[in-house]
C-alpha cells in the first residue's frame, strides 16, 4: 500500500508542477484514523496530504460539477465506481472529458458494505493508472436482497417503506451525493411550483423517495453513496436495485456508467419495447 501512496502522491505532484491540472480531487486525513475526507490539492507541495487507505469511501467525481468551466483540467483520483460516475456525468452532458484528467487507482473495496458486491474495482477510464489492476468478479447476488424483498406482500412492503420514510429528515444528502442526480435544478427545489413540500410527513417523504428512485432508476451506477450518507440509515439502494432488477428483467443485461453508449432504457422509445403492463 505504501508504494501506491508514494506513486499517487508523486504523480499528483508532477501533474501540478507541470501544469497539466489546476487541482486534484482525492482523499485526505481527518482527526480519526478510520475516516477520510475529500481534499482538493492545488499546490505540488501539498500532494503529501493525499491518503489512500481502507477508509477512502467518499465519491470524488461529483465535485467536478462545482467547476464546470475550469481554467485547467481538473484532476480526479478515481476508483472503479468513481470512473462510472465520470462516465455517468459525461453521458448526461454534465462534464466534458477534455476538462478532466483522470488518475485511476484500482480499489480492493473500502469500509463500506456496498463494496462487497462491486463488479468494477478497476477504473473503466483513466489517463494514468496507479498500481496494477485487481481481480474482478461477477456478483451473482447482485439482486438477491431485492428478490427476497419482493416475496413480501404488498401490505408488508408498504409498511416497511412507510416506517423507513417516517425517519427521513429531508436533508437531501442522498440526492446531493449522487452522480446520477445532476439536474441543474432538482424538482424538489422548484419551490414555486411546489412539487415537493417542505413539511415532513409520511406523504411528502414517500413522494420524495419514489421520485428519487425513478429519476435515477436507469442511471444508477450502484456506488451506494446514497445509502452510505443517509443519516437516518434508510436502505435507499434497495429501491434503485429494484429499478435495475426490473430493467434487467425487461430489457436484458444492464449496468450504468460503463464505457458503452447504450441509451438509457427509460430515456428512449422503441416500438419493440415491451408494453404488456399498459
Amino acid at each position: 500500500m505504501s508504494s501506491i501512496i508514494e506513486e499517487l502522491q508523486s504523480t499528483v505532484k508532477k501533474l501540478l508542477e507541470d501544469g497539466t491540472v489546476g487541482y486534484v480531487i482525492g482523499w485526505g486525513a481527518t482527526r480519526f484514523p478510520d475516516r477520510t475526507t475529500p481534499v482538493f490539492i492545488t499546490r505540488p507541495e501539498d500532494a503529501h496530504k493525499l491518503v489512500w487507505n481502507h477508509y477512502c469511501v467518499n465519491g470524488t467525481a461529483k465535485y467536478a460539477l462545482d467547476d464546470r468551466y475550469p481554467e485547467k483540467k481538473i484532476g480526479i483520483i478515481i476508483r472503479g465506481c468513481d470512473s462510472r460516475a465520470v462516465n455517468r456525468m459525461i453521458q448526461d452532458n454534465q462534464l466534458k472529458r477534455e476538462n478532466l484528467y483522470l488518475i485511476g487507482i484500482p480499489c480492493d473495496g473500502k469500509e463500506n458494505p456496498v463494496c462487497e458486491g462491486c463488479q468494477h474495482k478497476n477504473p473503466l477510464v483513466y489517463d494514468v493508472l496507479i498500481g496494477t489492476p485487481v481481480e474482478e468478479k461477477i456478483n451473482p447476488d447482485r439482486f438477491k436482497e431485492v428478490a427476497e424483498f419482493e416475496k413480501l406482500s404488498q401490505d408488508e412492503k408498504y409498511e416497511y417503506w412507510a416506517k423507513q420514510y417516517d425517519k427521513c429528515i429531508h436533508c437531501y444528502a442522498c440526492r446531493n451525493v449522487c452522480p446520477a442526480c445532476n439536474c441543474k435544478e432538482c424538482y424538489a427545489d422548484q419551490y414555486r411550483v411546489g412539487w415537493q413540500g417542505k413539511q415532513n410527513n409520511r406523504n411528502s417523504n414517500q413522494v420524495y423517495g419514489l421520485t428519487r428512485a425513478f429519476h435515477v432508476g436507469d442511471r444508477c451506477i450502484e456506488c451506494g453513496e446514497c445509502e452510505r450518507v443517509c443519516p437516518m440509515g434508510l436502505p435507499i439502494m434497495r429501491q434503485t436495485k429494484k429499478m435495475l432488477k426490473d430493467i434487467n428483467d425487461l430489457f436484458g443485461d444492464y449496468e450504468c456508467g460503463l464505457n458503452d453508449s447504450r441509451p438509457h432504457v427509460l430515456g428512449e422509445f422503441d416500438l419493440q419495447d415491451r408494453d404488456e403492463f399498459m
Partner: protein, 327 residues
C-alpha cells in the same frame, strides 16, 4: 436524593400519569427521544441520541393555523400546550435549549408556539457518563456532568440515580417521586471529553474579522450542500413558513429549514447573497462560533459532535476551530 435504578420504571409511571414523557430510545435503528411506552426499560447510558430532542419543543413540522376563504376569511389558530417531560437529556442538549430560549423568548419578541411548549415542559437532565470520540462540549465551556438550566439534575450513582432539584418544577417532580426516593447518594461527576478543541475566548471576535479570509475556500470545498449538519444539530433553529392548500382552505405550518440549501437566501427576484457552498458553510460556522456569541454572549455550538459524526463528507467543525485559532 437518590432513586434506585430498579425503581426507574416506577418513577417514569408517576411522571407519565399527567404528562407525555420522552426518553432516549430507538426507532428503526435510530437512537432518538421517543414517547415512553409505559413499560420499557430506559437506557440512560451509551452514546447520546443521534437526533437531538429539539423537535419536542420545536417540531420539524408544526401546524400554526387553519384558514378558510369565502366571503370572509376564517382563521383558527392551533394552540397546543402539551404537558411534556424530557427525561435523560444530557448537558449538551440542555445548553441547546438555553440557546433556543434566547432566540425564541428574548430581545423583545416571544414566539408563542415555542413558549407554550417551553412553559409546560419539565427537563430532567442526566449527567453524561459516556462521551463519544466526537464529543467536545467541555471545550465549548460546558460541564458534561451538570446542566444549570435543568429542572432536575440526575447523575449516575452506581446502583442509583442521584437527583437534585434546581427549580420549582424540579421540586414538584421530587415531591411526586417522594415514595421512591431516599436520602443521600454519591454521584460520579468526573466525566470529561477526550476530544479537546482550541476554542479560545478570543475566537468569536477574531472570526468576525475573518469574513474574507482564504481559510473559507479551503474548509468549505468538501461540503455537498445537504442539510444533515443542520438537522442533527440541537441548536439550529431556522424555519420556513408555508401552507398546505386544499382549494379555498388549508393549513399554515412552519417547518425546519436549512441555511445549507440553495433556496434559503434566494430572494424574490432570484438574487442569492449566498450563491455557493463557500458562503453557506461560512455563515453556518460564523453563526455557531461568532455571530450568536456577539448577540447573546454564548456559543451556538454546544459540542455534541453530531454534525462531526454524521457529515457525509466528514467535514469537522472542530478541525475548523483549531485551524482558525492558529491562523
Amino acid at each position: 436524593m437518590q432513586l434506585k435504578k430498579t425503581d426507574l420504571t416506577g418513577a417514569l409511571k408517576i411522571l407519565a400519569a399527567d404528562a407525555s414523557v420522552f426518553v432516549p430510545g430507538e426507532i428503526e435503528g435510530i437512537k432518538r427521544f421517543v414517547l415512553w411506552d409505559g413499560e420499557s426499560d430506559v437506557d440512560l447510558g451509551g452514546a447520546n441520541t443521534q437526533l437531538p430532542p429539539k423537535d419536542i419543543l420545536f417540531p420539524c413540522t408544526e401546524k400554526m393555523y387553519n384558514y378558510k376563504m369565502g366571503d370572509s376569511i376564517e382563521i383558527k389558530e392551533i394552540v397546543e400546550k402539551p404537558r411534556q417531560v424530557i427525561f435523560g437529556i444530557r448537558p449538551c442538549d440542555m445548553r441547546s435549549i438555553d440557546c433556543m430560549d434566547h432566540v425564541f423568548l428574548e430581545k423583545g419578541f416571544v414566539d408563542s408556539y415555542y413558549s407554550r411548549k417551553r412553559e409546560n415542559v419539565t427537563l430532567i437532565a442526566m449527567g453524561c457518563t459516556t462521551p463519544e470520540r466526537t464529543c467536545f462540549c467541555d471545550s465549548m465551556g460546558l460541564d458534561p456532568n451538570n446542566a444549570p438550566n435543568a429542572d432536575v439534575m440526575m447523575n449516575d450513582g452506581g446502583d442509583t440515580l442521584v437527583l437534585e432539584a434546581y427549580t420549582e418544577k424540579g421540586k414538584a417532580v421530587l415531591e411526586a417521586l417522594n415514595g421512591l426516593l431516599s436520602e443521600g447518594g454519591q454521584a460520579k461527576k468526573d466525566t470529561a471529553c477526550t476530544l479537546k478543541v482550541n476554542m479560545t475566548p478570543e475566537l468569536p471576535e477574531k472570526l468576525a474579522g475573518m469574513f474574507d479570509h482564504p481559510i473559507w475556500d479551503e474548509v468549505t470545498r468538501a461540503c455537498i450542500g445537504c442539510a444533515t449538519c443542520t438537522y442533527v444539530c440541537p441548536t439550529c433553529y431556522c424555519f420556513d413558513i408555508d401552507s398546505d392548500n386544499h382549494g379555498a382552505e388549508g393549513t399554515k405550518f412552519r417547518c425546519w429549514d436549512s441555511c445549507m440549501f440553495s433556496d434559503y437566501t434566494r430572494m424574490a427576484g432570484g438574487h442569492d447573497p449566498r450563491p455557493t457552498k463557500k458562503e453557506r458553510v461560512r455563515n453556518r460556522y460564523m453563526h455557531k462560533l461568532s455571530y450568536f456569541h456577539e448577540r447573546y454572549g454564548q456559543h451556538l455550538c454546544v459540542g455534541c459532535g453530531r454534525c462531526v459524526e454524521k457529515c457525509p463528507a466528514h467535514m469537522d467543525i472542530t478541525m475548523f476551530i483549531d485551524k482558525a485559532a492558529e491562523v
